[in-house]
Structure formats: C-alpha cells, structure tokens
C-alpha cells in the first residue's frame, strides 16, 4: 500500500498538456525517494503520444477510453480517478493546477477524504512526510503546509516545476474501455476565444495598464505580444474600465501568473497587480512615472513614454529576429 504515485494527465483536443508532463516528472522525482512506481491516468478517445509519458518516469498509463470523455466530465472523471486511487493504493496524487485540475482535485479529495494542497510551488518529501509551499493572498505571502492522512493530493502550479528533456523510455498503456459516463453535468460545447494564448499558460505575457490611455491604443500591446508569441494581459484598472476582457486580468482578482517574461506597459503596479505577477522570472516595465511601484519588482525598466519606447522596441525585436 502507498507505494504508488498517481499522476492525472490532462488532454485537450487529444494533446497532452505541458503542465501534465511537469506533473509526471515531479511524480517520478518523488517516487525516486522510495522506489515507488509512477502511474498515470487520462481520459478521452484518442490521445497522441501517451507512451511518451515513460520519458518522464511514468511506468504505466491507464487510459479510460470513451468519446464522451474527450471533453471534461466532472462526475465521471471524479468517479474513475477516485477509484484508481483506491484500487492502486496510491499515497500521493498529482494534478496540474489548471482549470480542469482545480475543478477535479478538490472533488477527488472530498470523495476519498484526503489532504489537499493546491497551487503548490515547492515541496519537501523525505519518502514519508510531505509538506508543500503555496502562495496565498495572491502571492503576497507563502504558506507552508503539512499534509497528513493516507492519501495526499497536490495540484502543481504550471511553469514552476521543469519537465526537462524526456528519456527514450516508453510507458505501458492499458486501455480501459469505459462504458458508462455520467452526463448529469455535461460539457455541451467548448467556445474557444479569439485570443490564441491564455495568460494563465503563456510563457511570455505583454500587459497594458492605464498608461496605454484607451482601448484604441491596445494594438501596441497586441503587436508586441504577437511578435514575441506572447499572451496579452491587462491591469484591473483597464478591465474595470471595460477596455479589455476580464479573462486578461492579471492580479489578485484576476489571474496569478509566473511566465518566463512579463512585460508591463503603462502599469503603475498596484499591490494587487504585483501580487499576481511578481513570481515571473523576468519582468520588464515601461512607464513614464519613475516612482511607479512596478519598478521595484522589474528586472529591467525604462522610465519613458511607452508610445515612443514600444514602437522602437517592436522595430528592434524585428531586427534581432531577422538575424
């Protein structure tokens, strides 16, 4: 008992998400402490490259197969994940802290009466005791928690744990034809937004604030974002003013993000905004006000007019990319 670590693998449109590879890799690092085996489970009808999870340390993949499971089914996913935990005797279960992971992990924790640590950014595991660190107050503080009980469930913040390079190992894939799907809560349709990238998942984010001076000037933010393959973000002020959709809001009542690069344009850096983006690896701030709090967290700052600096930046990046 307890000598298995289970990792939930999320697929969208038949592709395994990057954050699931991060979870698989983390599971295998934990498993190395005790010699436990890592098993994975996923749902759908056709998923590309499941055996490649072996490259991140997964021994066996349980693939619950049914076309009705291509889209998220909160009830059946909960039922089958909980059953898999009980049947395998897994002591630790990992999810990525995505929209799906955030809905599913708490349900599974309630179903199996387990300890739950959400949005984990660090852990300490000696093979027996497991404690985790997670941001609270949108990152204004960090809380250390000890999880107790037979089963410990974690969701890992995306982009924090590196998946690294895959080895050539392949995982064994067990296909379980799944007949009954509970459709009492049914995803009838997925409406994709026009935005190609979501701030919650992006590796680079270009955000605009009040300094952009109006929705009609956001093409500057968008152009720089497109050039860098970045998502567009926004401050609460501009979302509340109706300039940008709330899905783009970064900060305490928006999304908390940790991209590799965060570029803040005309954002002064209210405390709730800084809380949501301060864990970004590199922060660039462009703002006219040299006293703006954003410069206290920025790695690189330009205290100038964004309407002059950003067009120059776009040209310079184009030049560098052309080389």
């Amino acid at each position: 008992m307890g000598n298995k670590i289970l990792v939930f693998i999320e697929q969208r449109d038949g592709h395994i998400k990057k954050s699931s590879f991060e979870a698989a890799k983390t599971a295998s690092e934990m498993a190395a402490k005790t010699g436990a085996e890592v098993e994975a489970l996923l749902f759908g009808s056709s998923v590309e490259g499941m055996e490649k999870l072996g490259g991140y340390g997964v021994k066996k993949v349980f693939f619950y197969k049914n076309a009705e499971l291509d889209l998220y089914s909160t009830k059946t996913y909960t039922e089958l994940t909980s059953k898999q935990i009980t049947d395998s005797g897994a002591g630790i279960v990992l999810f990525a802290n995505t929209a799906m992971g955030k809905d599913l992990a708490p349900r599974v924790a309630a179903r199996t009466d387990s300890a739950l640590g959400m949005d984990v950014v660090a852990y300490v595991y000696d093979g027996n005791d497991l404690s985790v660190t997670r941001p609270v107050f949108a990152g204004k503080a960090l809380m250390d928690l000890k999880l107790t009980g037979a089963v410990k469930i974690l969701t890992l913040r995306p982009n924090v744990f590196a998946a690294g390079a895959a080895s050539a190992d392949n995982a064994e894939v067990a296909v379980i034809e799944t007949a009954s799907v509970d459709s009492s809560v049914k995803v009838a349709e997925v409406k994709k937004s026009d935005e190609k990238l979501d701030v919650a998942e992006a590796d680079i984010i270009v955000s605009g604030g009040r300094g952009v001076k109006g929705p009609e000037h956001f093409h500057l933010v968008e152009e720089l974002a497109a050039l860098l393959g970045a998502a567009t973000g926004a401050s609460r002020a501009v979302v509340d003013a109706g300039w940008r959709p709330h899905g783009e809001q970064v900060g305490q009542t928006g999304k908390t993000v940790s991209p590799t690069l965060y570029i803040a344009l005309g954002i002064s850096g209210a405390i709730q905004h800084l809380a949501g983006m301060r864990s970004s690896k590199y922060i660039v701030a462009i703002n006219k006000d040299k006293d703006a709090p954003i410069f206290q967290v920025a790695d690189y700052g330009i205290t100038g007019d964004l309407f002059e600096v950003v067009p120059a930046l776009i040209e310079e990046i184009k030049k560098v990319k052309a080389h």
Binding site: L142, M143, Q252
Partner: protein, 248 residues
C-alpha cells in the same frame, strides 16, 4: 426555491500583508476586511435568480464574530436571512466544506452559490468539495448562468475559452468575475438588514488533514536596472533580454 450563498470575510485586496507574531497567521493590524470579492458576484446571482424564479436567499458564513460584518453586507444587498457557523480556529478546506454541506442540507437549499475562491488562501476548492459531499451537481468558475425550470446552462472559464455546461438542480455554482455587476446596498437595504437576525450556531466539527507549518513573505526581488528614460534605451533592453535573460 431555497437558494443559499456562502460568503467569507477576507482582507481587502489593497491590504499589505504582514506576518503575525505566531508565524502562521497574518498580522491583522491595519488590515481592512471585506466581503470576498468573488462572493459579491455569488450574492448578486443568488438575488437575480430569486427575483426571476421566486423563493428566498439565505447567506451562510463560517468563521468568527467578525464575519457578521460581511453577513450584514449580504443582508443589505437583499439576502433574506443568514446563518453564522461559528468557529474561531483554523480549518482546512475540506473541514470547511463538511460544515457548510451539513448546513446546506439542514436548510434544504437546492441551489447554492459560492465565490470561485476566497482571496485570502486562494484555494478555489470549497464549492466543488461541498458539491461532492452533498452529491449536488456543480459548475465552477462560472461567467454565465441561466436557470430554466430545473435546468441549468452555465459557462465556465477555462484556458483559452469557455466550457458550456448543461446540468440541473440541485446544484452548486462558483462565481467568477464577469458573471454580473454586483448591486450596491441601498439605504433602505442597509436599514432593513439591521432588523434581520443572524442565526448563530457552532460549525460542525471535522478533522483537519492539512496543518499550517508557517507563513512567510516571498523573497524580496532584487532591485532591477533602470536602463534609460526614452527610446534610446531599447537596443540595450533587447540585448539584455537576448543575452542575459535569454528570452528572445
């Protein structure tokens, strides 16, 4: 129909967070507490649903005496009655969900709104856990909600889009920003709230499986470089991004 809305009392998002003397909780000095922002969307949706479908709305809150301030705000917005499940001690999310589930069951509420998360511990789990414990249908992180008879159509936010979810009562809905525009309490509402009673009872006991070891401030970020004050600084910025940060 009986509609419940679960509300929590949290530090304002503008508050600066300092660590308390015990090293496990925040220092409450100088911190203003408010209705959890996401719970305001939940309250509004509960009231709108009552206005359209009839019934009554009850607010449920778990915590200490101070939570009454948040409950009064909900009552002033138009909630009919309230229950405070008293507990001054730390509870993990599952133990909160167990106490709330028990009260929702006792109240026989068919439709329950939560904020999608409290902006203190940011777990975003109590609604889903409560649904699981009650065997209610659940849609989390909802930006659009429609109730027709017994049938619910809700849209929930996911990465890069929305899921359109069809379900039915009894159900728990967790509210995301964008669901509605919360109303302001009217003067009449505030006066009426003073006359409404808040029922108090001890929160049902439940064991914690998650123990707080400590709370700390994140490592201060090192002061960055100011590269310049106009467009002439751009080549240096791009060089740093390319050579030092290696991000472009």
């Amino acid at each position: 129909m009986k509609i419940a809305v679960c509300v929590s009392h949290v530090p304002d998002t503008a508050a600066k967070i300092n660590i308390g003397a015990d090293g496990k909780t925040i220092d409450p000095n100088g911190v203003t507490y408010v209705v959890n922002p996401y719970d305001e969307f939940a309250i509004e949706e509960a009231l709108k649903t009552k206005e359209a479908a009839g019934g009554e709305v009850i607010a449920i809150s778990l915590g200490g005496e101070a939570n009454k301030e948040t409950i009064r705000k909900a009552l002033a917005m138009g909630v009919d009655s309230a229950v405070l499940l008293k507990d001054d001690n730390y509870r993990d999310s599952l133990s909160v969900a167990k106490a709330l589930a028990e009260e929702i069951k006792a109240q026989n509420a068919e439709l329950v709104f939560f904020g999608k998360q409290s902006v203190d511990f940011d777990n975003s789990v109590v609604g889903q856990m409560t649904a699981e414990l009650l065997n209610y249908n659940c849609v989390s992180v909802v930006v659009s909600f429609k109730l027709e008879g017994n049938k619910i159509t809700a849209e929930r936010e996911i990465e890069g889009g929305k899921e359109v979810v069809e379900t039915s009562l009894p159900a728990i809905i967790t509210a995301q920003k964008g669901l509605n525009e919360p109303r302001y309490a009217s003067l009449k509402g505030i006066m009426a709230a003073k006359k409404k009673t808040i029922e108090e009872k001890p929160a049902a006991a439940a064991e914690n499986k998650v123990e707080v070891l400590g709370l700390k401030k994140p490592a201060a970020k090192q002061a960055g470089k100011i590269i310049g004050s106009d467009a002439t600084a751009v080549p240096e910025l791009v060089r740093l991004l390319k050579e030092e940060a290696k991000v472009i």
